[in-house]
Symmetry: D3
Subunit: 239 residues, 6 copies
């Protein structure tokens, strides 16, 4: 088996995390997993949605989008069509759930953090890149709140990163790019904390069911890849 | 640990599968997982969506809904609000993917099967009940197509069933009802074929990450529960 | 003239009213007019819409829907299409107006009752079955409010029932089923109180206008049918 | 009993029908029932909707709207809100059904007639004025089609007119204006052909049910008023 | 060069401004620029939108629509399609901006004026006719507020009028009608105050860019035409 | 008068045009006017919309969007809200009209070019930066079509660039940034071809009307600025 990119099965694509990518957001990151490029911003705002008011705790929510020509063929602009499609909704719910696991909402106070992940170039793995990059933006936004004295405790409970794994031509591989993703038998996205805990596992058989053995080997690959991503996140925060 | 229902950790709720529940659909099933009740219909229709035309293969798609008062508090009617919410979209995509794994779309010919899962009473596990019941409706709809000579081969590749598992008060439990679901630390939905293959795993940590050990014990419970469900599906088809 | 069902012109279909059909709603009824089956729930909720606030009176509103495969051919799901169609809107307005005539909104206090009528199987007369069944659900919901002490007077002013009448092959007939409805020259829906008062008359000529004589004979049939329905409603409440 | 306008109970408001009110439409009428003013256009267009193609018959459909400030208090613009409200939908369906009863769709050939009724000033009875005026616009549009040789037979089967009747302070009155309409116990709209046939009856009890006797007296008033309207329609066509 | 209408290049169409055209609005004008006819109403309402509350100043906003058959070919009804099209949005924003330049929002107090411009017959120049007519409606509405004592100062700062100019067959012409507009190389809409100030200039090259010289000659024509329109506005207010 | 940025009145911000910014689109440009950054892509696609089919000519259309946190305060995501706002619609129509003036649609053949301008960071002048950058993307996309032999003639008629001008503290200034834009008395956007022709002028008085003299000085500034932009466009194409 030869991966289209020439990578080893357990090899991540080149990962780049650029902080302060745009100037307005409290946290703003360009994350690159190879040719997949996503702008992740974290916007901190005083107040919480109605259903949480007066409880002294915060909220985090996420939205996801793709520029119409981030892909090989131009997609319809969702704003013009008046509707987010099912895939978009599914992904932004995953991003929101995953990043809420990074935050102690009680320590956040009555503040809301909006995560926006906008794909400017897609080459597979946009949701895992989004989660990984958005966590760095989130860390910056929380730092901002702390430096302004708007938050006193430490709302950031753990680091969160995510990677995809799959079975490509019978072999478990890490961090699928688009050519692999579209040919893979099975695709799994894993989100984990830097404490080794599992936040979310979403595995989908594309054509044929996968076995438990395959599942175990994919999970092992994911753990290793996420550990590397956590290191890269920490390095980016120290720059 | 005492489950609210008094069940053993590895015990399913009483499961009932009533075929031919309504008269118009090619397959129509009322599935009950305890107090969770879902009407699942499979509608067979000649023709396929535009993107598949002329390829000689079929299509299967699924939609999901809840009656406004299927729940403890009345929910807004999605048709009146003009929008399906994110949870609905996520669930109907899961149902569609899962049941497509049951079907050989090539053998189906240019026919489309619409799966509709409408929850008339909710008590946890509506998506797993939907998948389990919809497979029986699907089997009936395919039988209908075969008996009419509209399909010649055997499009039904395998049986599909689904169950939820979770960690409730520190103990892995099978088939969570609503009181358990809303208190669980972790919730996982597993879809498997009767050949033991995994179709879909979706595990979500609600508050704290879960460990691999917890994951393994949940997966073991799910396998056992799904095996029972496959038996119940077969029994219902023989009635 | 022979009715497709073999019924006499003045004969209702077998009517069944099953109370407490689902467990969450304050009133929950499965109503069956022959093969037409509708789940009617009445949900009581504290508070009223903005335009009524502070007036000390209540509100009642109704929504109607059909499961996509309640009919011979699958209909689009309105929630997925993002819009209720004209027929749906017309019917739910009729249901709401009719049931408001059953209630003394002043005695109801600042409570809102939501009526939901969801057709699970359609065979003609879904709107008249909805009104007839929803009244029983309404009576149960009001009983609930009284038993909880949330309402002190008697908001239920009268019983309301509804039936369709039409001219089928030149003969006035009661309670049209789908084969009759689709072939009828004229279709009329009548809603009356158990005090003999007329709440709503909606008569429509399908192809040719109808005469006053035809109208009178249809109205007479409707009165008789509604009287029977009122008896069946009372019997169901005594079970 | 004194009507706010000083009219006799059986007296119509001053009715004016102005043909060729705007220049583009094949039929264009300004109809005035007192201070209620509606622009009714009939647009003839080659072709029919998909569900009728190839059957050699035509179609007629109607839409209704109110200018935002046609009423005492400004209403939201439906185009800006993105949705027609329930009342609008109900009225335009009534207009469409009523005018289809005027037309032999087989003689119309594969042509579609769009009726548009736009209220520029409202003072009660906008739907009955719309039907009455739109019929004249329809007659002109059909004449246009005949004069162009696009239609050979006679698609216009009969004249259609409509009026409202109600019980105001206990007395049956004809053609309610807004002050009467908002105070009436009962409101009924009747559509009839000039051959005396009934096309549509819609009677609604606002607060208390109405009796059969009241119904009969209202129906008698409506017949007389519609006969007058048919005369006025004919006169306008001869000008 | 011969204009289709036989007008001189610098000649306006016959302009008519009819005040009090409908009875409910505080200001109501039918404005006619030749065969272009627009109903302009100004509705005064106590209160302002949320973003202005408590600042003691008022607001003015505008909406625009066309009756479906105001044009040669019937257009879709925007309310039925559920969306205003881009041209509508662009025009109503222009009308709103232009008329806000006529008003001292501080003197208006916390009142909102809604301008509605509804085209009942279109023959080119609907936006310029709308602005010109709406200003007269606005003046009447402000007079109404002053006569009721709801406004004490003078919110009306200046008169506003608008006209189109273009290059038709190489010649600058004033106030284009539809045949000219659809054949013109360049189309420019100018809004000016009666103090000679420019409120808005929107010039668009349809096929080929225009030169500065052409621009200057068009601007000169517009100034002259707007001066005439200001006179006609004043005359209409003195009637 | 001191500009917030310290620029001279007639001085552009630093302009950067980066071609091939993303990999999928036929033309892809990051354009920067100071801190305003817009990704402009031009996507070439075989075929034209229905209304142009069979005429042998092409089409160009444009859409515009802003990332939610491209601005100082997070804006709602239009895709999630289900609607593009009025400003968005107005801008994308301007971009489309402007770039159509650059193209000979007959030479383009039955191909469609979609322009997408997505603002990733906003600091005033997003529409003028969009037009200027999108023209370079368009040039690349047309080159792509020519190199593939999909277009034989030369569809690119001229270069198009755009800049804003305004009166800031009484002085005409070129290329307003956000602090200037929000404080300016008058704002004008000018689009011109490199042949000196005017494509579009949109001038708006924010509070007080502007004089012709002010207009002339702004137009002169715009001409000079656009000439510089045309040079920068040409330089970027030669890299």
């Amino acid at each position: 088996m030869q991966r289209p990119s020439g990578r080893q099965p357990e090899q991540l694509r080149p990962i780049r995390i650029t902080r302060n990518y745009t100037k307005h957001a409290e946290g703003s990151v360009l994350v690159e997993f190879g040719d997949t490029k996503v702008i992740c911003t974290a916007s901190a705002q005083a107040g919480v949605p109605g259903f949480l008011k007066g409880q002294g705790k915060g909220w985090l929510t996420a939205e996801y989008g793709m520029l119409p020509r981030s892909t090989g063929t131009r997609m319809d602009r969702e704003a013009a069509r008046g509707k987010q499609n099912g895939r978009t909704v599914e992904i932004q719910r995953l991003i929101g759930r995953s990043l809420r696991a990074a935050v102690d909402l009680n320590s956040l106070g009555e503040n809301t953090i909006h995560i926006d992940c906008d794909v400017i170039q897609a080459d597979g793995g946009t949701r895992t890149a989004s989660i990984t990059g958005a966590w760095v933006a989130l860390a910056d936004a929380i730092d901002h709140l702390k430096s302004k004295g708007l938050v006193t405790g430490e709302p950031l409970k753990r680091a969160i990163a995510s990677v995809s794994v799959g079975i490509y031509q019978g072999v478990p591989v890490l961090d699928l790019d688009y050519p692999e993703d579209s040919a893979a038998d099975t695709d799994m996205n894993v989100v984990m904390g830097n404490d080794g805990g599992i936040i979310e596992i979403q595995g989908t058989a594309e054509a044929e069911p996968f076995t438990e053995a395959e599942f175990q080997s994919m999970l092992a690959l994911a753990k290793q890849g996420i550990a590397e991503l956590h290191q890269l996140q920490q390095q980016s925060l120290q720059r």
